[in-house]
Symmetry: C2
Subunit: 220 residues, 2 copies
DNA sequence: TGGCCATTGTGAATGCTTTCACAAAGGGGT
DNA sequence: ACCCCTTTGTGAAAGCATTCACAATGGCCA
């Protein structure tokens, strides 16, 4: 199979979410045009994304919603359940525990770790908090680690996660993580997104001023 | 100024974070090579990213850390403070309120809204929860809205946010939002990231199997 | 059964981003 | 004052991703 870009994979997730919703409300068939419109992309993009993995549509008709849902779940590896460890029993961790959607899609948070003596051994959102000294042994059998610790601690935690054999990490610390090539990392960096909005705000303003001060004939 | 890609802007944020750290520990000068290494990109990329905005380095020497910090803060619009409204007083909202870094970078969450009668009027993380019926009037003067409500409610909330004149939205709902062209939206979609990890896990496994079963001579 | 219409799947073209490669500095040592 | 070494800034080249455009095909209706 040829290499597929991360943006394609991200779009497949979006398609799946929409299609799952539509399937629940009884829609049986959908054309790429409509799928694209509802996901904010183009019909050609939808078809190209899918074409990396096979052929799923019927010409003249579109896609069978239940079939495409099944296909996408297979492609994304969502036919099985994944064992997820949460490292860091703070506010972000609590938000994730509360978010029932993950479980529904096949991600089970089955252990929680923290370094805080006060928290260790206590029940927290239905799980007993484990000492993070135990990280290396207790991570055996985990598929994914969610790192929700302060930035300063993140790299050290990740090193131990990798040493324990976990090959997928969802990182909430605003820092670059160094991992071997065979470990997948996705970082969620909210500060970075806010700064992107800040940039957009000041630059739209700058651009608007620039356009306003240009001779009228050159405006687009 | 010519159009700059979102990935460039995201990298500028990363550079700024690292440089701020280095400045605090007294580093005064840094070459693109080192900056790149520590941010997981290439030296050429760093220089190209910066070149969209001007020339900041000294040939043969590198960049002055404090000067580059100042320049990046200017580019990203972080010299001023931004007024942020949080919509949805749930777990994600609580995590954001607790995250002191935002305030440090210039983002002040100054109002909270919720639709839950139980929460409205109560103090919550230092703010009094406003009824979301008031959204349109109370959003006057806000620069950024953080949408942390269930997916089903998100589009309706966003329509009112836009109507109130807010032009930047940070969205935590796992759904595509429709907004006019002049409104900037960034979506943080944790489910999508997890699915990306799931894909990586099953496909690394698939790829490994494929390589293992190929005749030895064709392995790369 | 046959023709028509809608829609797919996909090479080719376009556009965007990253990397390459090197001339143009600039500082420091002699 | 001059040379050498390092590192920048930037066109050109290479590499990816998206869009275009259309032949291929399947369903439906007469």
């Amino acid at each position: 199979m040829r290499k597929v870009s991360e943006s394609t994979v991200a779009r497949l997730s979006m398609y799946l979410r929409l299609l799952t919703e539509l399937a629940a409300s009884g829609v049986t068939t959908l054309a790429s045009e409509e799928l694209a419109r509802r996901c904010g992309t183009s019909a050609a993009q939808v078809r190209k994304d899918l074409s990396f993995f096979g052929t799923f549509g019927k010409r003249g008709l579109g896609y069978s919603v239940p079939e495409l849902v099944a296909a996408l779940r297979g492609i994304l590896g969502l036919e099985r359940r994944w064992r997820v460890a949460l490292i860091g029993a703070g506010k972000i961790g609590a938000a994730l525990m509360a978010y029932q959607d993950f479980r529904r899609q096949g991600f089970d948070i089955v252990t929680v770790f923290d370094s805080d003596r006060e928290k260790i051994g206590r029940e927290w959102n239905g799980l007993v908090v484990q000492p993070d000294a135990e990280l290396k042994v207790s991570l055996k059998g985990m598929d994914i680690a969610i790192v929700a610790v302060p930035a300063e601690a993140a790299q050290a935690v990740v090193d131990r996660v990798v040493a324990a054999g976990v090959r997928a990490i969802l990182n909430f610390a605003p820092t670059k993580l160094n991992v071997p090539d065979d470990v997948a990392v996705k970082t969620v960096n909210m500060a970075l997104e806010l700064e992107g909005l800040s940039y957009a705000l000041v630059n739209d303003a700058r651009r608007a001023r620039a356009v306003a001060s240009r001779p009228a004939a050159s405006r687009g």
